[in-house]
């Protein structure tokens, strides 16, 4: 039982981390809550469903194409909706409201185009899974764990050592100063949407394989991704990933004692507890007095 819950927790954590990490990248460079981030995963999942099940395009084309479409979707949202609002110097609250609008629009558009019923992607048939010390894990779940791990090592290396990664951290830390050092902040914000949304696209693919596709999937995920980011420290990329695993594990171990219907309640209790006790999250840096 323990091992099964551990595996389930890690898989849930991996999926949450795919949402929270992209969300964190976008939040830190843009300083507003892009709530429609989850919808990018929904759009990606439906795009995959349409191209694979509808048009019959093979997966080695549809998988990368889906990630590309997700990145493009995020970029266009920033270019067409957020950027004109930012140019009018609107507050982050207005941007948040705009993002909720986009989220509702996307969820309903997917429902209009594909219907409200659950879609199943039968790319890899779900088997019973492999038995491992009394616990079961499916090949797709193993793939999720490995892909997510590789992605996060890559993301961490990118953020810490690459030129663009450092510039993104600089813009995240102090956008006004970034401007005075000759950094084109808008370009960097575009990049944050492209990278964050590409990760959401990957999330859409993996969730479509592991679970089912439905119009509101992204919104539910966004709530968990947001909670995970707050727990880990929303301004820290590693923090948002650790937060996702903490959330996944707490939710799954929680149902050892509580009925599984309380899973979301556990997430919210954890969110509130962190907001009250450690609002900067596990990894949020407290810079102290020297600024």
């Amino acid at each position: 039982m323990f091992l099964q819950l551990l595996i389930n927790g890690l898989i849930a954590g991996s999926i949450y981390a795919l949402i929270s990490s992209g969300f964190s990248i976008i939040y830190t460079t843009n300083k507003f809550v892009h709530f429609a981030h989850g919808s990018t995963a929904t759009v990606a999942a439906y795009f995959l469903y349409w191209t694979f099940s509808g048009l019959g395009i093979p997966i080695y084309i549809t998988f990368p194409l889906t990630i590309f479409v997700a990145a493009l979707f995020g970029f266009l949202i920033h270019l067409v909706i957020y950027l004109p609002l930012k140019k009018r110097k609107t507050s982050s609250v207005i941007l948040l409201i705009a993002s909720i609008g986009i989220m509702i629009f996307c969820d309903n558009l997917m429902q209009l185009l594909f219907g409200a019923n659950v879609k199943i992607l039968s790319i890899f048939p779900h088997g019973r899974g492999i038995e491992f010390l009394g616990a079961y894990i499916t090949p797709i779940q193993i793939a999720i764990l490995i892909i997510v791990l590789i992605l996060f090592v890559g993301l961490w290396t990118f953020s810490k050592y690459s030129r663009l990664g450092k510039i993104m951290r600089a813009v995240a830390d102090n956008p006004e100063l970034a401007k005075t050092t000759g950094i084109n902040s808008v370009r960097i914000q575009h990049w944050s949407f492209v990278i964050g949304s590409a990760i959401a696209g990957l999330a859409g693919i993996l969730i479509a394989l592991e679970h089912n596709i439905e119009p509101s999937m992204g919104t539910h995920l966004m709530i968990q991704g947001f909670t995970a980011a707050v727990i880990g420290g929303v301004t820290s990329l590693p923090g948002s990933i650790v937060g996702a695993y903490v959330l996944g594990l707490v939710e799954n171990f929680g149902i050892w004692w509580l009925p599984s219907g309380y899973k979301s309640a556990i997430a919210f209790v954890l969110l509130l507890a962190f907001l009250l006790v450690r609002p900067q999250g596990i990894f949020g840096i407290n810079k102290g007095a020297r600024e």
Partner: protein, 239 residues
């Protein structure tokens, strides 16, 4: 030949008009200081040159090219660097990465390393602390880092907004020595806003006194020191 020329400049923030009809020239290789009471528009003038305020009319020329409408990131390429006031470093980046941000458009590793060494020679403490987070530095070190970053792009014109702010008298002296070295060793033209008038006047070449958004006096520092306008600034008559 003037490096920078400002002609009939009017600027401010949104509806708020701060600068009215500013005219002045900066000579190549000289250090000029902007003085005046709080709210006179000294910082706004620096920001206007760097195009981070709203310029309502007038023109700014750099090496005879009209740069009034160029965005800040293009001005760096032209050879202008700006050290702002307040939060002057990227706290969550290392000291080294902060310096690299000043030259982020240049990809050639040799050029970058050479430039880094140049800055480390000027400010040895930055080399010692190159791997530490910028937010952990003291006030004086923070200022050195900000100036170091501005110098990474080898600017022809360096704009500095109160580099002595929050520093102890000993550190102020040290900071001004660094600024003097930048002019003397690199031949950089410097425009600095300062409140530490006595110390800055000893090293600067020319001074401008700004009151209520307009230049009321301009002269060589040695002449300006004895002027009536300067006395008024000292006793706070314009405040």
């Amino acid at each position: 030949m003037p490096l920078l020329e400002i002609k009939n400049l009017h600027a401010g923030y949104g509806e708020l008009k701060v600068l009215t009809d500013i005219n002045f020239e900066l000579e190549k290789g000289k250090m000029s200081v902007l003085m005046g009471p709080n709210g006179a528009g000294k910082s706004t003038l620096l920001k206007s040159i760097f195009n981070i305020t709203k310029i309502t009319s007038g023109n700014i020329y750099f090496e005879h090219e009209n740069i009034t409408k160029l965005p800040a990131y293009k001005l760096i390429g032209k050879g202008i660097s700006y050290v702002p006031q307040g939060k002057i470093n990227f706290g969550i980046l290392s000291v080294r990465d902060n310096l690299l941000m000043g030259i982020h458009r240049i990809k050639d590793a040799n050029t970058v390393e050479k430039k880094l060494e140049e800055i480390y020679t000027q400010f040895p403490i930055l080399k010692e602390k190159q791997k530490e987070y910028a937010f952990s530095l003291s006030g004086g070190q923070q200022q050195m880092l900000a100036i170091g970053r501005a110098l990474m792009s080898s600017p022809k014109l360096l704009l500095m907004d109160e580099p002595s702010l929050g520093l102890s008298p000993k550190l102020v002296k040290e900071m001004f020595q660094h600024i003097k070295n930048i002019r003397d060793n690199f031949g950089t033209t410097i425009l600095v806003v300062e409140h530490n008038l006595k110390s800055i006047m000893d090293i600067a070449d020319e001074g401008y006194i700004l009151v209520q958004g307009g230049v009321i006096a301009h002269d060589l520092c040695c002449n300006l020191k004895k002027s009536d306008a300067m006395k008024k600034v000292f006793v706070g008559e314009f405040d």
